[in-house]
Amino acid sequence: MREIKLADLKPGEEATICSLTGNSSGNDRLRELGLIDGTPLRVIKFAPLGDPIEIKVRGFYLSLRKSMARQIRVRLRGNIEN
């Protein structure tokens, strides 16, 4: 399946992280939170003003800016339980 950007997902869609392409310090933090390659996530919603984006990953809810979500490449997954 094709790789797309996390920022391009729609609310409710589930995906698996393929790679983090952005700047290093933000990536370090994402990885410490457990967002490493292969980690499944679900997009919850975008904030009322369109940014940031809220995702559920590894059992918790995380808010991150779209600029950062554009640097996370993901692969859409079907409705499989993780």
């Binding site: 589930e14 983090l20 952005g22 700047n23 290093s24 310090s25 933000g26 990536n27 370090d28 933090r29 994402l30 990885r31 410490e32 939170l33 457990g34 490493i36 390659d37 980690t39 499944p40 996530l41 679900r42 919850i44 919603k45 904030a47 009322p48 003003l49 369109g50 940014d51 940031p52 809220e54 559920k56 990953v57 590894r58 059992g59 918790f60 809810y61 995380l62 808010s63 991150l64 800016r65 600029s67 950062m68 409705n79 339980e81 993780n82």
Partner: protein
């Protein structure tokens, strides 16, 4: 925030334990349970911003609470406190007897990362599975014994800081750890990734001889050196200059090798630790699947909804501002009559003279007046604590982040800025959670524009005296609307100030702004109570010390010197002849263009000690000036006061000008001091005072002079 008397240094007491954990894992609540202290907790990441310590109940062990952190590689000032402390554990004399790692049992996977990093220091580590009650409710089962066996932790204890579960067991376990226990050096808790181990080998082998000096596994040191260029600073003192040179070249060599093999070396520790968690610990706890919608998520369907979310936000704020006025009315009236009664009694018992004047006009009239505002401040603190503890504050940050980014800040600035409504001092300190230095300093500069609770008495008295009590649009009480408007003035100005900062001091790095949205939680009555207690106590202490002292000094300045033939003069003439009167008339030319008379001028000077002193100052001056023998309230006195030429002192325009002055002026010595401390320079506090004073003066000038030109009075 406070520091405790129990504070001990690293060395003089070997019986201490550190308590670490992710932000918002209930660490401080557990600390409070164990020590019987009552530090501030909240349902918002980053409440603990400094080291605090306290003695465990009925024990000689001292516990040190550290700021929450996701890992030992620091990104912000508060996280650096933790990584610096952990780094000091290389020296045996700095090692704690045990480390308590608090993990959120409902969020185990992410929390385990930090636990593994701590475990690898080979100090007896107690993993506390906090919020186990919530985890049970969510049907998250955790095999504590198996977790202990696999991670080789000293103990794994399920606990609930909220209900006190597991607390006894934690204390007993701590007590039973023998003195100077030495754990065998264990293999690091991570999964080796193919090709990496061989590539890293040269670096690891270089560090191997230093193993006993460094007291930390060479492989972990190697991984940290690869991921963080600043990490070398922690190691310099263990190497000679020549060795350091070699070490650095090894690091470069290994990086080159890894790069050639397309291995992202910066994130090796994270990848190999989460691989360890997924592969080796995965079956110990039942996961919370990403497709499951939590209760909080369902609630957020409305509370952060694109349309209903912002509406709810405005309703919440409107409700709070209205409550500050309407709920406080009755207790305020009660305190007012209590003070009037005391003053009347004192007046009746004491003979006319200096003592009577000092007591009724100086002390009761001055410091006593401030007590009236106690209920409002309590209500404000109550709601701010409620927003924070419930988890709603994080949603406000989520919804407002876009706005904040437009002005060059981020959602993390929301908590410090909103805390500024209570008091700028803890607010400035809570800005430590902002990772980016530039954003942190700009946020600190904006905090004093948020109208703090000390300004509330000034607004209230002016609004109560000069704004009619009717309704606008038929439902919004006018007085509450004016109050809200005054608060908004500060907020909107902060936006403009942020834009100006953005223009002249732009952000260099890309904004990250990662924030966890914690689950909604029922605020703990205990926690709310202690927050209100602490703030209330500090308000009353200020009233009893600084404000009392200033009231007495002011009474003296306003009563002396006396003119010859004192009795022939009216009180008004006497007070204008006094030191205070002279001082007031001296600065009157400066404040006159803003619509203020000399009495307000005196108040502006005295309020530098604390803003609410403005009210006590006016009260003392009016009390002394009043020679009708009848007691009159400050509000009545202000309404009646006239210039010698018959014009009223307080007109709608001058009242507006005065409120604007209080929104903008940087009148607070304590804020100045805390900004000096937090930024570690004179530049920032001076900049704050400079820009706010100019802003206040120019705005009031525009309001008053402009208003007059437009025909208002």
């Amino acid at each position: 925030m406070k520091t405790d008397l129990h504070t001990v240094s690293n060395t003089d007491n070997p019986s201490w334990a550190a308590i670490v954990g992710n932000p918002n894992c209930g660490k401080t609540a557990l600390f409070n349970r164990l020590t019987g202290l009552h530090h501030k907790v909240g349902n918002y990441p980053g409440i603990t911003v400094e080291k605090k310590s306290g003695r465990i109940r009925n024990s000689r062990i001292v516990l040190r609470d550290l700021p929450g952190t996701y890992s030992l590689s620091s990104k912000s000032v508060d996280e650096k406190i933790v990584s610096d402390m952990v780094q000091s554990w290389r020296e045996p004399k700095n090692r704690p007897r045990a480390v308590i790692v608090v993990v959120d049992a409902t969020n185990l996977i992410r929390n385990t990362y930090l636990a593994l990093q701590i475990l690898d220091w080979n100090i007896p580590t107690i993993i506390v599975l906090n919020m186990i009650d919530e985890a049970r409710k969510k049907h998250i089962s955790i095999d504590a014994d198996e977790l202990k066996k696999r991670t080789k932790a000293w103990a794994v204890i399920p606990a609930s800081a909220k209900y006190g579960e597991g607390i006894k067991e934690i204390i007993e376990t701590l007590e039973q750890i023998p003195d100077n226990v030495r754990l065998p050096k264990m293999e690091p808790r991570l999964v080796e990734i193919e090709h990496c181990t061989e590539n890293i080998a040269p670096l690891e082998q270089f560090l191997e001889p230093k193993k006993d000096v460094l007291n930390h596994h060479p492989r972990i040191e190697a991984l940290r050196l690869l991921s963080d260029d600043g990490y070398i600073n922690y190691l310099t003192k263990y190497f000679t200059a020549a060795e350091l040179e070699q070490l650095l070249s090894k690091v470069t060599e290994v990086k080159t090798a890894l790069k050639k093999n397309h291995i992202p070396y910066r994130s090796l520790e994270q990848s190999s630790r989460f691989a360890y968690i997924d592969l080796y610990l995965g079956d110990v706890f039942k996961k919370d699947p990403i497709s499951r919608r939590s209760m909080s998520e369902k609630a957020d369907a409305i509370l952060t909804h694109p349309v209903f979310g912002p509406i709810a936000l405005l309703l919440v704020l409107g409700f709070i501002f209205n409550a500050i006025f309407s709920w406080a009315q009755f207790p305020m009236d009660l305190i007012q009559s209590g003070i009037d009664w005391t003053s009347a009694q004192a007046g009746a018992i004491l003979p006319d003279g200096i003592l009577k004047s000092l007591l009724t006009e100086g002390i009761i009239g001055g410091a006593g007046t401030i007590l009236i505002f106690f209920p409002q401040i309590i209500i404000l603190i109550f709601f701010l604590s409620l927003l924070e503890d419930s988890g709603y504050m994080a949603r406000m940050a989520f919804m407002m982040d876009k706005l904040m980014s437009k002005i060059g800040l981020n959602g993390r600035s929301v908590l410090p800025l909103l805390s500024g409504f209570a008091c700028a001092i803890p607010a400035v300190m809570s800005a430590r959670t902002i990772e980016n230095r530039r954003d942190r300093f700009v946020t600190i500069m904006l905090i004093p524009l948020m109208s703090c609770s000390a300004r509330l008495p000034v607004y209230t008295i002016l609004i109560a005296a000069f704004v009619p009590a009717g309704y606008i649009f038929g439902f919004m009480p006018m007085q509450a609307a004016v109050l809200m408007g005054i608060y908004f003035l500060g907020m909107f100005t902060a936006i403009f100030a942020a834009l100006i900062f953005k223009k002249f001091y732009p952000s260099k790095s890309v904004q990250t702004m990662l924030m966890e949205l914690p689950p909604y939680r029922m605020p703990l009555a205990r926690s709310l109570w202690w927050q209100i207690y602490d703030k209330g106590k500090s308000f009353l202490t200020t009233a009893g010390s600084i404000i009392l002292a200033i009231s007495i000094v002011l009474w003296f300045l306003a009563s002396y010197p006396r003119q010859a033939g004192d009795q022939q003069h009216t009180s008004r003439e006497r007070i204008e002849y006094s030191y205070a009167g002279q001082l007031g008339h001296f600065i009157e030319p400066v404040v006159q263009p803003l619509g203020f008379d000399w009495k307000i001028g005196v108040g502006l000077i005295t309020s530098f000690a604390a803003r609410e002193v403005m009210v006590s100052t006016l009260s003392t001056l009016y009390n002394l000036e009043n020679d009708s023998g009848q007691s009159q309230s400050l509000i009545q006195a202000m309404r009646k006061d006239r210039y010698p030429d018959g014009r009223k002192v307080f007109t709608p325009l001058s009242v507006l000008s005065l409120m604007v002055f209080f929104v903008f002026a940087a009148q607070c010595m304590a804020t100045f001091a805390v900004i000096k401390k937090e930024t570690n320079s004179w530049r920032w506090p001076l900049l704050m005072t400079g820009y706010m004073t100019i802003l206040a003066y120019v705005s009031c000038l525009l309001v008053y002079q402009g208003g007059q030109l437009l025909g208002f009075i």
